[in-house]
């Protein structure tokens, strides 16, 4: 058993929210649109009710759990590449979050946030 130091380092260097511990981070696309911001998370397999959106000061925090709902009694894994369990993503968006109007949408495996803040 050898240790992979490099992977470890990536975790440390990336931006993380200290209180939540070492969790996986979904990939994000951020669009600027006439009404505000549209943020698209790569969260395939995550039920909308398992996603939590928080606003702390100027930070937008999206966190939740991805569960494997496909596996059934009697099966076994041959290969696993998708990361499950808890995730968390903290973003700083240049807009007044406290007064912003936020809408969520789950479509085609994406989790999309719409921020209306002028």
């Amino acid at each position: 058993m050898s240790r992979s130091k490099r992977v470890f380092i990536e975790r440390l260097t990336s931006e993380y929210h200290r209180s939540s511990g070492p969790l996986w981070q979904p990939a994000v696309d951020i669009y600027r649109c006439p009404t505000g911001w549209k943020i698209k998370f790569d969260l395939a397999g995550v039920k909308p009710e398992d996603v939590e959106v928080l606003i702390a000061d100027d930070k937008l925090i999206v966190r939740g759990v991805r569960r494997d709902t496909v596996i059934t009694e009697g099966w076994s894994y041959h290969q696993l590449e998708i990361t499950y369990s808890r995730f968390e993503r903290v973003l700083k968006i240049p807009c007044e979050l406290s007064s912003a109007e936020i809408q969520c949408e789950s479509r085609d495996g994406w989790f999309i946030l719409l921020l209306n803040c002028g």
Binding site: M1, F8, S76, Q79, S85
Partner: protein
């Protein structure tokens, strides 16, 4: 129990590793229990697994009590099955949170436990924690500086890490710690505990790194210089190759090869040279042996293995050359001419080995040069005086550092022919003690039966010395070992007579010194009387060195006058001598004008030629026995005892009252000069005369010198060095000499003019001696009771008138 969250987890026991929260670690799972635990975790929705380190590595199916109680909850991020037949799983897991086992629920087919999630260690803001954090940063920096190959990103993370706990966990997984230490880190519940542990481990790690780097630096330094030299040399070789120059050592070897091809070497030498050259070609120039071999080859090539000069065999011309350089010395000239005649008839004859024995300044060395000139050979001279190491003659073996061939081989290289006249000067002054015995090495060199294959230690090849004309010189034969003396043909050169010196001065010394002083021959003349004055009163020697110096001194003084314009032509007469040379320098050994009873004139031979010496004897009333002083050797002391005993026992027959006198008082015999050691039996006659004079009260004739060994029965035996002794007697103004009869034949060696004014008396027995040497009884009476020599007893003229000639 606290209010921490609890949950059930499949437990995977780990060997050799502790996984920290937030660490991403690859694991390979192979044991059936572990496989089952991993499969169970994979079957859950969140893929969570508990990992705990085993207390002992060896345990294959650990039971709960073989596990630590604190572990890490991990998420399985990736999973792959091995492509091969074995069942192993490859996992990549990411640590999430620490947990403590509350209790195991199942133990088969895998361990399953209820666990309590532990919070992160409590963060503290105390000064202690701050200090620990900073110290850890410093240690980490030090460790990084000692580790050469740390990737820059790790460097950045460590330097920029702002969370001490995360950094500690990271370091825990990176450092080479033991499982127990890692487990202790994991179990730490407060920040200060965690940092304390980390600080201890890190400090030790840094120390180990420092020592390791120090050791490797030392090794590096030692290697560094040798490597650097080697690399530079190789580079130089490459550069030379690029420039089209051959490598220097090969060029040198090539040069030597050409010289060996051209040289006329004997077969054995050629074989050896080729062999050494082959060794040389294989060596790099930096090898110490390289220069040793090169020098050796150069020596071989420089030696005249087969080169010789041709002898000029014109006997008349040879005679001319010899006469030109040296006056008289008929024996030696004759010997050289004989040898040339033999070479003429038999060219393969062996060269003779001569030994010239004689006092300093008689021309031994210059005679060697003259011989070489007359034969048309080269001349090489080496002084053996004070040499005490055999290796100086025969060389050191090549294994020694700085070894060289001996002096013989060196001289041959200088001469560059194998038949020079080689002069071995001062062969009697060879050292011989525990440090070595060069005389024994000479035995081989000077033996015609051996020296055709002389092996120098350095060359270790036979060199033919049989064509070399060896001439040894010595002042006396005494110190030369008999074996060595036996190998040489000894030719004695005794001192020159005054007449000979006069000739030598006129023919050789004056012209040479006049020229030296920058004068013309006609500008400085010596009358014969003046020269005789210089010879007898300003010099005292067997040879002519002092004479030449004295003449030179006169010549320089004349040169000064000429240069000052005080005259142009000078003739030196006896009356001028005091002006030029000051007071007479030698007069004390001239015949004493008056001899008191008990003093006799003896004759001795020294390295300086013959010498006159006085034997003084006196009675010591009230004392007993014989006292001898004057640095007398054992033989001479015994001779004195024999003399005393003879007189004592034959006192009546001789008409002397010795028995009474010797019976009542002691006798003291002294031989001046007291500082010079003397030995030998030849003073016997003189001692007997002195003692007879002492007890009879009759003084010894002051114009008579004597020599000869005596026996207790009264015989007078022959002695050596007659020529030198007679010349010395004459030089000192003696008119008569008493010699043993058996030495009669030695007289023919003495030039006739030296004997002209000298009466020679030969004796066979002591009874014959005394009448010849003692003054008649009547003359001595008035002197009794007076201080010695206070009154003249006789004069030479009176004595001669009365004396009668005995012997031949």
């Amino acid at each position: 129990m606290s209010d921490n969250k609890t949950l059930e987890l499949p437990i995977l026991p780990l060997r050799n590793i502790v996984i920290f929260p937030s660490g991403i670690t690859p694991l390979t799972v192979g044991r059936p229990m572990s496989l089952a635990a991993a499969e169970a975790a994979l079957a859950t929705e969140e893929k969570l697994l508990g990992v705990i380190a085993q207390r002992e590595d060896g345990e294959n199916e650990p039971t709960p009590d073989k596990l630590h109680t604190v572990g890490t909850m991990v998420v399985i991020n990736r999973m792959m099955r091995s492509p091969g037949a074995d069942e192993a799983l490859h996992l990549i897991v990411q640590g999430q949170e620490r947990f403590r086992i509350i209790g195991f629920i199942e133990q088969t087919p895998f361990l399953k436990a209820r666990v309590e999630i532990l919070p992160e260690p409590v963060r503290e803001k105390t000064p202690e924690v701050e200090a620990l954090q900073r110290n850890i940063q410093v240690l980490v920096q030090k460790a990084l500086s000692l580790l050469p190959n740390v990737p820059p990103e790790i460097r950045n993370i460590i330097v920029q890490a702002d969370d001490a706990i995360r950094l500690a966990y990271f370091l825990g997984s990176v450092l080479d710690l033991e499982i127990a230490q890692e487990q202790a880190l994991l179990e730490a519940n407060t920040e200060s505990e965690l940092l304390h542990l980390m600080h201890t481990y890190l400090a030790r790690e840094v120390e180990v790194l420092e020592i390791r780097s120090k050791i490797s630096n030392q090794a590096q330094e030692e290697l560094g210089k040798a490597q650097r030299d080697y690399i530079l040399r190789e580079q130089m070789k490459q550069i030379q190759k690029e420039l089209g120059e051959t490598e220097p050592e090969q060029a040198e070897a090539q040069l030597l090869r050409e010289r060996i091809e051209k040289a006329d070497l004997p077969e054995e030498v050629r074989t050896e040279a080729d062999r050494e050259l082959k060794r040389l070609e294989r060596l790099p120039a930096a090898a110490p042996d390289y220069h040793v071999i090169r020098t050796y080859l150069e020596w071989i090539l420089d030696l005249p293995w087969r080169k010789s000069t041709e002898d000029s065999l014109d006997l008349n011309k040879a005679q001319e050359v010899l006469d030109e350089d040296h006056y008289d010395l008929k024996d030696i000239k004759q010997r050289i001419l004989e040898h040339l005649a033999v070479i003429k008839l038999n060219p393969t004859t062996k060269a003779p080995i001569l030994c010239f024995v004689g006092p300093p300044g008689v021309g031994k060395t210059s005679l060697g040069q003259s011989i070489a000139r007359s034969m048309g050979r080269k001349f090489e001279r080496m002084s053996l005086g004070g040499m005490r190491d055999e290796a100086e003659l025969r060389g050191h073996r090549r294994t020694y550092i700085g070894s060289m061939p001996g002096r013989i081989i060196q001289a041959l290289r200088r001469a560059n022919v194998n038949n020079p006249v080689m002069m071995l000067d001062e062969v009697d002054k060879l050292g011989m003690d525990f440090r070595g015995d060069p005389a024994s090495a000479l035995l081989e060199i000077l033996d015609p039966a051996q020296n055709f294959a002389f092996r120098d230690h350095y060359l270790d090849l036979p060199f033919d010395l049989s064509k070399v004309f060896f001439i040894a010189t010595a002042n006396t034969l005494g110190p030369i070992p008999p074996a060595l003396r036996d190998r040489m043909e000894v030719i004695a050169l005794s001192g020159y007579t005054e007449e000979e010196k006069l000739h030598i001065a006129k023919q050789y010394l004056i012209p040479r010194q006049v020229k030296e002083a920058g004068l013309k021959e006609e500008q400085l003349q010596f009358t014969d009387e003046a020269l005789q004055g210089i010879i007898s009163r300003y010099t005292r020697e067997a040879g002519v060195r002092q004479l030449e110096r004295t003449i030179g001194s006169v010549a320089r003084k004349v040169a000064l006058k000429v240069a000052q314009g005080k005259g142009d032509v000078f003739t030196v007469t006896p009356s001028d001598l005091e002006d030029y040379l000051g007071h007479e320098m030698f007069f004390h050994e001239m015949a004493r004008q008056k001899l008191p009873p008990g003093v006799a004139t003896g004759l001795a031979v020294t390295e300086m030629g013959g010498e006159v010496l006085f034997i003084e004897a006196t009675l010591l009333p009230g004392s007993k026995g014989l006292t001898l002083t004057g640095q007398l050797g054992e033989v001479m002391q015994e001779s004195a005892k024999a003399a005393l005993s003879y007189l004592w026992s034959h006192s009546g027959e001789l008409g002397l009252d010795c028995a009474d006198k010797f019976g009542n008082s002691g006798v003291h015999v002294h031989v001046p000069a007291g500082a010079t050691p003397k030995d030998g039996p030849s003073a016997g006659v003189a001692i007997v005369t002195a003692l007879a004079s002492l007890c009879s009260g009759r003084p010894v004739r002051n114009d008579t010198a004597m020599t000869g060994e005596i026996t207790l029965s009264g015989l007078v035996l022959p002695v050596g060095g007659i020529k030198g002794k007679v010349l010395a007697a004459r030089r000192s103004g003696m008119k008569r000499v008493v010699l043993p009869k058996k030495n009669q034949h030695d007289l023919k060696d003495i030039p006739e003019e030296a004997l002209r004014d000298l009466e020679v008396v030969f004796v066979e027995r002591i009874e014959e001696v005394l009448p010849q040497t003692l003054t008649p009884a009547s003359d001595s009476l008035p002197t009794t009771g007076l201080p010695p020599g206070a009154e003249a007893s006789t004069t030479g003229a009176e004595v001669r008138a009365e004396s009668s000639k005995t012997g031949s």
